[in-house]
């Protein structure tokens, strides 16, 4: 096995502006936030985002004007309310949004995971999602019964970006036995063409060998692995730390007023690396408060 360990900066450098990105996690949990911040720090833009429920990462990209198109099932920040940047982007015609239901979007990721060109579903019959997106929602007949369904294109993207728990340097990523599985990370990993995973901690390969059933992303699917402790902050990473409610509320106050600039200055432009971000966003005391290990 080959070491795939790289720095956060080098991982972000792999991704050119204009790429399509599948972003994992869910709304305010376990998304690769540090990696998205680094993309913005490197002034990348023009992205297409594919997500299951999109959330904070998509809103950050929208705030920076770095996303042109979103395909997802939801955009919002759960208990913290609306995704203001995304919402403005759509209302002002800057973001091309393609809506899918959960069953429909998951089936698109599963088709990509299986190397199939399209998924079949009857979830979108009669909906506005089918009516307004003839490019991606096509009728298809069951050849056995003649019944009408829809074909949807597989959710293929250039890069898939996930945040995980632990991994070895080869890219074998494991979850803890107690975890929150309310996302599609394992399916997105399987569906990835180029997969970059940030994790809380790199552990020795010998640790991975002890519990191979907990490996949900095997090394052969991974192009780059990055150690980024608190890499999902201000979101939660289940089993590691809770969402940072104070940070999120501060974020929402600024975004509601359309003030992405002040936030970006503090947390994206000024910090030259992840350690500087953590110093800007957290005190040691606060970090310990959020930790649930």
């Amino acid at each position: 096995m080959k070491s795939k360990l790289v720095s956060l900066e080098d991982a972000a450098s792999l991704i050119p502006s204009g790429s399509s990105l599948t972003i994992g996690g869910s709304i305010i949990r376990r998304s690769p936030v540090a990696l998205i911040r680094e993309l913005l720090h490197q002034k990348k833009s023009g992205f297409t985002v594919l997500a299951y429920p999109a959330g904070f990462t998509t809103d950050l990209l929208a705030g920076a004007g770095a996303v042109d198109r979103v395909e997802a099932v939801y955009e919002g920040l759960f208990q913290f309310g609306f995704s203001y940047n995304f919402r403005r982007g759509v209302e002002e015609g800057r973001i091309d949004i393609r809506d899918f239901s959960e069953v429909a979007m998951a089936s698109r990721f599963r088709a990509a995971a299986a190397g199939l060109p399209f998924a079949v579903t009857d979830a979108l019959l009669g909906t506005g999602m089918a009516e307004h997106n003839p490019e991606q929602v096509r009728e298809i007949a069951d050849p056995f019964s003649g019944r009408k369904l829809h074909a949807l294109p597989a959710a293929e993207s250039d890069f898939t970006l996930l945040h995980g728990y632990t991994a070895d340097e080869y890219g074998n990523v494991q979850f803890p036995v107690a975890r929150d599985a309310d996302d599609l990370d394992p399916v997105m990993a399987k569906a990835a063409n180029r997969l970059i995973v940030t994790v809380e901690k790199i552990v020795p390969h010998s640790e991975i060998l002890k519990t191979p059933n907990l490996t949900y992303i095997p090394h052969t699917w991974v192009e780059a692995i990055v150690e980024v402790p608190f890499g999902a902050h201000p979101l939660s990473c289940d089993g590691y730390y809770d969402e940072d409610e104070l940070h999120m509320e501060d974020y929402q106050r600024r975004m509601k007023e359309g003030d992405f600039a002040s936030y970006a200055d503090l947390y994206i432009a000024k910090p030259q690396n992840h350690a500087e971000y953590l110093a800007a966003a957290l005190t040691p005391e606060r970090l310990l408060q959020l930790s649930v290990r």
Binding site: I28, R29, P53, A72, V73, Y74, E75, G76, L77, F78, Q79, F80, G81, F82, F86, R87, V90, E91, G93, I97, D99, F100, S101, E102, V103, A104, A106, S107, R110, T121, D122, A123, L124, L125, G126, T127, G128, M129, E131, H132, R147, K148, L149, A178, R179, D180, A181, D182, D183, L184, D185, P186, V187, S236, D238, G239, D242, E243, E245, V292
Partner: protein
């Protein structure tokens, strides 16, 4: 069963919802954002499920946030991630694909849905107000609400009665109710189903068996047919025997206040 004369509208909605639940039901509870939306999407449904377990449906189970059959006797004190991760539950589905498969395979009996726009035929819109491509107000998308109306046997709509919510025709169909009424749902290829009840803060509606129009069934004690109709953007059918919504019993109210939600985690606003 003495009916209580002292109850909140939220408590009435919990009781009305609980009465729609049957023993053995598997219930899909959605994602709420903050405040009133949380109460509608999560608080009232979870309280109703628990109330039904305590009264007539001991074998009922809920799915929430990828937890299948979380122990409703141990509702966590907060709902941040860590409390969800460690909430005692029979199963943490392995990823959302399992939940989606359960939906499209038709394993759910009831779902709770609410929306900023609902029309005469029970179609919902949680996607966009105005023109979809140039919306006046972009909403949150679709989530599984589309899938609920496509696959769940008896979806329940829970929402406050407001003129801007109850519209003649939704701007965008996120969830297909009875589409254009009559047989149009089946003609569009959808499976049998569609919303069963609309439970609001003022009244409860069903859908007429043939025309599939929304039909006023009961009005809460605190309201009237006139008030209900004045809060709607379309004139619903009025059932020939509209009655007063059955009030919660004292036992039900005691269960809600003392057993189910003593810390006011569910019925927050």
């Amino acid at each position: 069963m003495t009916s209580s004369s002292n109850y909140s509208l939220n408590e009435l909605m919990v009781v009305a919802a609980a009465r729609e639940l049957r023993n053995g039901d598997l219930i899909f509870v959605g994602v709420g954002t903050a405040g009133r939306a949380f109460t509608m999407a999560c608080g009232i449904p979870i309280a109703a499920a628990r109330l039904a377990q305590e009264t007539h449906a001991p074998d009922l189970a809920i799915y929430w946030n990828n937890l299948l059959s979380p122990d409703l006797q141990q509702i966590p004190e907060r709902l941040t991630q860590h409390y969800l991760t460690t909430w005692p539950t029979a199963a943490q589905l392995h990823n959302c694909s399992d939940k989606n498969d359960m939906l499209s395979k038709g394993r759910f009996d009831v779902s709770f849905d609410s929306a900023p726009q609902i029309d005469r035929y029970g179609n919902l819109n949680i996607t966009a107000i105005g023109d979809y491509r140039h919306p006046k107000r972009r909403l949150i998308g679709a989530l599984a609400q589309t899938d609920h109306f496509a696959y769940v046997r008896r979806p329940l709509i829970l929402t406050d009665l407001k003129k801007r919510t109850f519209v003649e025709k939704v701007d965008f169909i996120t969830s297909v109710g009875y589409l254009d009424g009559g047989n149009s749902r089946a003609e569009a290829g959808l499976r049998p189903g569609g919303p069963s009840r609309v439970i609001t803060d003022k009244a409860i509606f069903g859908f007429h068996d043939e025309s599939r129009e929304m039909e006023l069934l009961t009005v809460h004690e605190s309201s009237s047919i006139e008030e209900v109709v004045s809060e709607m953007g379309f004139l619903p059918r009025i059932s020939d025997n509209v009655s007063v919504t059955v009030a919660p019993t004292e036992h039900e109210i005691r269960l809600i206040r003392d057993v189910i939600d003593p810390r006011k985690i569910l019925l927050v606003s």
